[in-house]
Subunit: 503 residues, 2 copies
């Protein structure tokens, strides 16, 4: 199945099975870039977000929830008001509007346009005779800047914006954090929440939405702590799949490098950044992304945003779109706190016991979200290879529905027993399903990624046992009802394997 | 402590301890009606939301996540565009703007103004000589309607709004639900997410914010199913603290009435509504609100919104603000689906096997959120009666931090052992705390609501046991390290009581 064909099949599967619907609201024709998580998609997304929480909390970061809306001054300080924009060009014939970079990339993929100024881009459009992709009309001779923030108003006259990222809002309560942590630096904060970008060309389904959920972790630390980071030793021997900028240029492959080596060879600039990159890796493994589909790609100097010291992206290999950026890890230095200090007039610094001076901490940021990983999990684990029995092979712990319970037939006492078993299994997400043949119920649950199906049959009446079927192997075992909950719990948490039950 | 005094103390406690900060962003002076959950507040809010999820899922409802933003037409259909507004009046001297109802209520609390038209309100202002509360200036002679929705734009020209409630967005994928549930009605959907209201006078701290988190459950059912509701029998004997409109008028008290009696006496209109009210009660008990602080207050006919068949509010008795509305349960009939059908041109109906016709389902709605219950829990369980040792007496299962582990002193091996114990307890939210005297660490954790403190001392080295201290009784027991995790787990889940450990 080709990339394009698979993408279509995947999106149709998401819609039909109840994972992701959209663009929303569908009955009104849909608004590009807005999607709805259906019942199964929302369970999966919650599992992803809980995995993110668990990993952050276990690594000592604390969650906060800041408002989505903030007034204009904050975005002036952060730089979003002036520079968070896309260059747009209009078609002189049909009035269609296009992001210049996307337009050129799609018309002439061989051109390297990163960082080029607008007048050069206009010349490229003319030279290569790039026209409106819709009507083939002539494009305008001007590029306008389209700010990506969604403006609104608070009260009757305060201009405000829906945040374009969680990060800026996470930085603002800095003085409160300083009290909460009793002025002990480093400390870590994360936030999971909505952000909004008024993209002109939303595309690639859930990968570039106008409303999306970010999950961003922020490590606050003094500059001098980067080089001797207290937690570094405990992770120094971990190996990460790194693809430094130099290797990309020289067409060398991704390498598994230990953090200690990476810091010593100056592939990673310092211990704290290396620790942060390792935490990022744990995040993606914790969300169930297979290690062999993950790589860390370093930004080239041209890609780096002006205030960033270093940046690496997590890329995940998708069947639909190939290697795809799912996360960025940035050394933002003291840029943000200094800007907000300047614009708010408040000193954002802490007395450092070591250097005996007040310092503005630096920030290392892990910027990702829960939409793309949710999409990635569906992309990676959806298996339509057997047309008769398509399966969503999610890791059990991520499956939206853990267990489905069926009565073999709707006769005698079987439905009542099955319903009672389902009640007993409420600590998992467990559904009762009596519609259609058992084969049909199996395949419906395979599509949903349900980890185990439990069937109550006539033998149950006599032996007090049920059939448990494994989604991936289609194998079945008989389990006593009295042992069912504990067995399923161990299976779901990976403490035992299904094939061990056969013995 | 008076109501006002307690409110001040409570809000100061929330700010200082790291529960709720704001108005946010504080370093920029704050924007009224916007608050930030600090590390402890966010843990508490997550616990509240997880309790909500658990109760809804156990009762057969499925969660979805719909976009916050929707275009103008949706809000035209829902009625928000024309009627979701507050009458405003301006001061002719200082230009201050006021919600008319609030202004009159605060100046003349004895006046009954519900449902009065604008010209009557203007007369009342004149008659009672109500002036600008800030500058005592004369108020204008006109009332303008201030729409409470926050407008924004999508793309370059699509007018859209941040949703003022989740409910409308939950209704829009109706046809998708119909497929997902294989046209089997009734079915239930819930959504937990942000909503926005551009209040002119945000007040009462977290009780009336401009950005807030709603949790709304929607039961879709045919009208005829209301009177014979399949799940009614299983809850018919449950007793709820009901305060019917008639009793309010006649100054009769709240009564514990069984659902069966309430339906028979026509206090509740039908079985499905009674079941829904019972689910609502379970929600509030599940969030840890004590039963004796909950009552259900029926709306009077004058309070009812035009399309609603019946409405009851959940009120919770707060120390700060007295009886306070935390939830509304509404019979919305087929109003919403019919409106969206009309405006979208799509038929929103399902073939009913019983009546053999296509029907537009009715909707019973449980409308609440997670901010007010979070505030209520802090209000109810914060206990500053002992000035030397203020305690947050949250139910263990809701405590943001379950366990704190201390080394008695920072000597010998005690810190290492304590840290290792903390690592082992990671399945709970567990913190390691070594700063200050043990007494100070106890009181710090009492303020945070930490359920149990574990101290590692010199006896630990010999006996491999630790001191476990109970937050509420201040009692202590020695527990073997090898039994610690299991003991704490049982304590936190309420399977054993602390005093039983003493035996």
């Amino acid at each position: 199945m080709g990339e394009n064909e698979y993408t279509k099949e995947l999106i149709a599967f998401m819609q039909e099975t109840g994972f992701v619907w959209g663009p929303s609201p569908e009955i009104y024709g849909g608004l590009a870039g807005f999607y709805t998580y259906g019942p199964l998609g929302k369970l999966l997304k919650n599992n992803v977000e809980n995995a993110i929480r668990k990993t952050f909390i276990e690594n000592g970061l604390w969650e906060v929830e800041c408002p989505i809306i903030a007034q204009e001054k904050i975005w002036e300080a952060s730089g979003h008001l002036t520079s968070f924009s896309d260059p747009l060009i209009f078609c002189t014939k049909c009035n269609g509007e296009y992001r210049v970079s996307l337009l050129i990339e799609e018309a002439k993929p061989e051109l390297e346009i990163g960082g080029l100024p607008n007048d050069v881009l206009l010349k490229l459009i003319e030279e290569h005779n790039i026209v409106c992709p819709k009507c083939k009309g002539k494009l305008g001779s001007e590029i306008t800047q389209h700010n990506l923030m969604m403006q609104t108003k608070v009260g009757t006259d305060t201009v405000a914006y829906n945040r374009p990222e969680t990060a800026t809002t996470t930085y603002l309560p800095f003085l409160r954090y300083s009290e909460f942590f009793r002025k002990k630096v480093p400390f870590g904060i994360f936030q999971i929440g909505k952000a909004f970008r008024n993209e002109i060309s939303p595309r690639q389904h859930m990968l570039r939405m106008r409303e999306f959920t970010q999950a961003e972790g922020q490590l606050f630390l003094y500059a001098h702590q980067k080089y001797e980071f207290e937690h570094f030793d405990s992770v120094a021997e971990e190996r990460l799949p790194l693809w430094p900028h130099k290797n990309q240029k020289e067409k060398l492959p991704v390498e598994q490098i230990s953090l200690r080596d990476a810091v010593e060879k100056n592939i990673l600039k310092n211990q704290a950044y290396a620790w942060t990159l390792n935490l990022t890796y744990k995040q993606f493994l914790g969300m169930g992304i297979p290690a062999e589909l993950i790589r860390f790609r370093q930004h080239s100097p041209e890609e780096l945003i002006f205030y960033a010291e270093d940046a690496w992206d997590v890329e995940v290999k998708l069947k639909s779109f190939g290697w795809t950026e799912l996360c960025g890890v940035h050394d933002r230095k003291d840029y943000d706190l200094k800007q907000h200090s300047k614009f708010s007039g408040q000193k954002l610094e802490i007395f450092d016991g070591e250097t005996k001076e007040k310092l503005v901490p630096h920030i290392l940021e892990i910027a990702f979200g829960s939409d793309r990983p949710t999409y990635a999990l569906l992309d990676i684990f959806y298996d339509p290879s057997d047309k008769e029995r398509k399966v969503l092979r999610l890791p059990h712990i991520l499956s939206p529905i853990k267990v489905a319970v069926f009565p073999l037939v709707n006769k005698e006492n079987l439905p009542e027993i099955a319903e009672k078993i389902c009640q007993d299994l409420k600590e998992f997400v467990c559904i009762y399903d009596k519609a259609g043949s058992v084969g049909r119920r199996y395949s419906r649950n395979d599509m949903r990624g349900t980890a185990f199906c439990v069937t109550v049959d006539f033998d149950t009446l006599e032996n007090k046992d049920v059939t448990v079927r494994d989604r991936d192997s289609h194998e079945q075992v008989r389990i006593k009802i009295s042992e069912l909950k504990e067995t399923l719990r161990k299976l779901i948490h990976g403490e035992i394997k299904f094939k061990d039950l056969k013995k």
